[in-house]
């Protein structure tokens, strides 16, 4: 899976969870940039990412995410 492909698939997950078909995400995007990205939706997002990329994430993985760039790196390392 290329970085580009991971980015595209993650964007699709974000659009679905936040119910916004035109949502764009960048490596620097954080929870402050997206309305409704709170602690409730964060884990909904994690579960959707796990099912999309067929990976398993732990609480520790989730704790250390600062932005979308970190999220992509984590997905790529787990999916590798």
């Amino acid at each position: 899976m290329t970085h580009e492909e991971a980015h595209q698939r993650l964007t699709a997950v974000f659009r679905d969870i936040f119910d916004n078909p035109s949502l764009e995400i960048a490596d620097s995007t954080t929870a402050d940039d997206i309305d409704d990205w709170d602690s409730v939706n964060h884990i909904t997002l994690i579960a959707a990412v796990e099912s999309e990329f067929k990976i398993k994430l732990s609480t520790r993985d989730v704790k250390n995410l600062a932005n979308v760039g970190d999220f992509l790196k984590l997905i790529e390392s787990k999916a590798a």
């Binding site: 409730v40 964060h42 884990i43 609480t59």
Partner: protein, 484 residues
Amino acid sequence: MSFLSIVFAAFLAAGLLVYHNAPVPRRPAILLVLSFLFYATWSVWDAALLLAVTAGVYGAARLLDQTPSESRKLRLLTVAIAGLLVLLVGFKCAWLLATQLNAAWVEGNPNAVLLLAAPLGLSYYSFKLLGYLLDVYWGTLPARRDFVPVALYAAFFPQIVSGPIQRAQDFFTQLDAQRASDPDSFVLGLRRILFGLFKKVAIADQLAVVVTHAHGHSLQHSSLELLLGAYCFSLQMYADFSGITDIAIGTGLLFGIRGPENFNRPYFAAANLQEFWRRWHMSLTSWLTDYLFVPLRMTFRHLGNAGLALAIFINMVAVGIWHGPRWTYLVFGCLNGVFMIVSVLTLKRRNQFFKTRPTLTRWRAWVAPLVTFHLVVLTHIFFQAPDLHSALSYLGQMLHLAPHGTVAASRMDLSSFGLTYGRLFQALAGLVVMETIHWAMSQPDWAQRFNTTRREFRWVLYYAVIVIVMLSARGTTSFIYAKF
């Protein structure tokens, strides 16, 4: 030693003199000694316990950092957390258990209080230390090599009585960055203490008259008067708790440490219960979100909405029983849990419904905060009542469901509370002033803008507040949140 005592004022003045005249590298150790002196005035044994618990957590965190094996790390973390939780739950439940098992021994034994009463601030310092351990385990914070910063973090006297619950990383970053004494921070601190005193004495203590009478003699009051009592308690608790938080943050600032905020205009700004809890007792709710709700959500994440509801419910029950092992706190937590589950699960649909109805949306902006406020007032009836029976009879009489005696349901006689319209008006005017100041403080650069106003204006304001505080003082009272 209470925050509202001359002894505390003298202790603070002497402590500040010693602290700011000492070389910077020695200051954390001095602040630690001051913190333990303050704490030991409540109980020397509790101070010894605090020191022992901190030493245990310090050692466990160091071991966590040095252990390469994941399974050993997890075992170590489990033992350390279990130890802290046993201490917390054990002390909180000891009194309850002892009175259930052998009430005669408890009542006839003067040492029972000494043995069984939970140490002051246990709920606060144990949560701080739990958070520190989890941060080290999750790798978000390295374990501190020196003992002094960890011990100071747990014992920091401005925060030990009633919070706020500062995060370890925030505290250590500020402690490490301390260089010279900062006069600006000093001014901010004094101002904050004055604001806290105003909230406590000019607002909370005035409203307390209504609350104490309404809850103590509910049968003597009409439904309408009991409704006033319920409103007054929610407003009193806000002024009281945010007042002591201001004194804690202000005192911390005098020593160059800024504690986290606990309130962000929770009433009339929160459009739903989840937003209310993001604005109320924020240092506790954000702590629980990070260390309880997120792990629970992760555990139940594949259960869909049922998992979400379960995580919310457990989290809100934890908020309730954090205050103590009482049925009223449990019901307070359960009610909040149920209200929040309904609110969270229906939010998306409600938003879609209002999206296409602009007129209703305008109404919603006014009605939603009012509904939220009333849900909070309802849960606070359970929070305030001494037991479940009292809470239910208060609620029954307030809603005119229970028999009332001879008082007409719609009577509104302030003298039945021993209160005058003037005093109630003073408290309500104080609330308006308080919320206006909160609003001003939320504006960018408010401190700078305030500092550039005319000096005469600022000093007249300070003296006016001091005079109001002195005139309103009704003798020694305690803070609601100092008992947790």
